[in-house]
C-alpha cells in the first residue's frame, strides 16, 4: 500500500501566525486530487493530529488540486513546550500515512 506522500506531489506544513498551523497537500493532477478528496477523511486527520473536529478547517481548492487543513496549535509557537516552532515537520505525519 502506498503512503499519502508517495501518492501526491508534495505535502507541506507551516505555522500561520503564532497560533495556527496549516497543511497543504499538492496532489499534482486532477485524478489524484479527486481520489484524495474522496478517500481522505477528516476523522483520519483529527486522529493523526490529536485535535477535535471543531478545530479542523478543510479546504478543497479545485484550481490548484490542493487540499488544505488548518487548525489552532495546542501549544503556541515558541512556548517552552513547543518542539517545532514552524510546524514544518508535522507534514511528515501525513506523508507517512497509509493511503
Amino acid at each position: 500500500m502506498l503512503t499519502l506522500g508517495e501518492k501526491v506531489r508534495k505535502i507541506r506544513s507551516k505555522n500561520a501566525g503564532p497560533f495556527w498551523i496549516t497543511i497543504d497537500i499538492f496532489c499534482g493532477n486532477k485524478k489524484i486530487y479527486k481520489e484524495v478528496c474522496n478517500k481522505l477523511t477528516n476523522s483520519e486527520i483529527i486522529n493523526l493530529l490529536m485535535i477535535s473536529e471543531q478545530q479542523l478547517k478543510r479546504f478543497e481548492i479545485d484550481d490548484l488540486n490542493v487540499i488544505k487543513f488548518s487548525f489552532p496549535r495546542k501549544i503556541i509557537q515558541g512556548d517552552i513546550f513547543d518542539r517545532d516552532m514552524h510546524g514544518a515537520q508535522l507534514a511528515v505525519l501525513l506523508s507517512e500515512m497509509k493511503f
Partner: protein, 451 residues
Amino acid sequence: MIPIKVLVPSGVLGLGFDLEALNNGVKNNPDIISIDGGSTDSGPYSLGSGTSKYSRAAIKAEWKSLMIAREKANVPLVIGSCGTCGTNGMVDWMENITIELAEELNQNIKIAKLYCQQEKNFIKKNFQLSKIFPLNPAPMLNDQLIEEMTNIVALAGAEQIQECINTGAEIILAGRTTDTAIISALPLMKGANPGSSWHGAKVVECGALCSTNPTSGVVMVEFDKTGFTVEPMSKNAFCTSETVAAHMLYENADPYILHEPGGYMDVTYSNYYNIDKKKVRVEGAKWHPSKQYSVKLEGAKIAGYQSSLLVLLRDKKYVENVKKWTDKLSKFLKKEINERMDIDTSEYSLEFRHIGLNSTLGELEKNIRSPVEVGVLCLITSKNQISTEIAKLINPFLLHFPLSSNEELPTFAFPFSPVHSDRGCVYEFALNHILELDNPMDAFQIEILEV
C-alpha cells in the same frame, strides 16, 4: 497616476537578494521600493526582548544596496516591521543604521519614522473600554497579563504607511506593520483596484517565493484599475499562474480570506493567467471594508529562565530503555531538588526530550523504532535564574544514573564542557487580539528627520 509599480527586493531584509535582479528592477522604473523587516515567524524572543533576529552587519549591508537603489530610482524606500519585531527601539536601531549609511554614501535624505509600540496604560484603558477583542485562539487578557508583557505592538496598515508617504519622506522606517501594507499603501492611494492592491501585496510579500526561483528575491508588481501583474526581476526566475496562486496558501490558515486593518480581502473569484513566460496577470479579488477600523495587537511576556543539558546514550540497554530511564531519573531529580534546594516542583519545569526517538513530534510520533543512539535533552525552565543551579544539581545524575540498583555505575557521553547551557530569559506570545480605533493614527506616531 496608475499603473503603480512596486519593487519588492525580497521577503525580508536580512535574507539576501540578487543584486543584478535589483538593478533590473530599478531600470524598470518603480514608483516605490518596499521591503519587510520582520515577522513573528521565528517565535516570541524578538518581540519579548525587543531585538532583531538578523545581525546588524547583514541588515546594514543589504540596506546599503537598497539605499543606493532608491537614490538611482529616485522613489521612496519603505521598510515595515523594523528589526524583526517592530518595537520603537528597533525603529531607532534602523534609523541609526540609516544615518550611518547616509554619511557613508553622502546622501541627504528625509526620513519618516512610524512608531507602533503601545503603552501598557493605553492598552489597559482600551481593554476596560471594551475596545480590545480576542481572535481565535487567544490568551485570556486581564490587567495583570498586560502588566507582565515586555513589549506590545500594534500592526500598522496601509493608512499609517500612507500618512508616512504623504510627508514626502524618501525613506520610511516603520515599526510593526502587516507584511502587505507596505506594498498596498501606494497603489491604494493612487486609485488602483482595492481588492487587487491587497491581493498583489500578499502575493509578493515573500519576494520571489511566488516564482520558480525563490532565492532570487526581487519581484515587481504593477497595480491598475482592474488587477495586478507580477514579474520576477531575475533572469533565472519565472512566475506561473500556479506559483502565484499557490502563494495564497502559504502561511495562511484560510486560502481565500486575508484580514487587514480596515477590512478583509477575498480572492475566491480571482483569475490567474500567464501573460508571457515570466509575467502573471491576476484579477477578481474583492475588498470588503469593515464598519469599525481595527488593528491587530502582538505582545510577549517572560515565560521564565531556561537552562539545558544534553547527554548522549549509546549503550544498547539504555537506548532501548531510555523512556523508562528518564521517567525514573525525573522522579529522582524532583525529590533531590526539593530536598537539597528547597524548591517545589511548581516553581520550575523539568522536561526530557529523546532526540532520535520522538523529539520532533512528541506524542504524535507514529514511527518509533529503537535507534542506535539517543540524545537526551534536558530542559529546565524556572521563574528566576535558579535554572542554572538546578542544571548543576542535575549534571552528575545525568552522567551516572543507573537503571537498576545492583549494577556498576554507568557513565554516558557529555558532548560539552560546561555541560549545561544557560538559555537566559525566554518569552511567550501573550496577545492574539484586535484593537478598535476611531482614527487609524490613534495608536501610532510619526517622526520626521532630515540627514
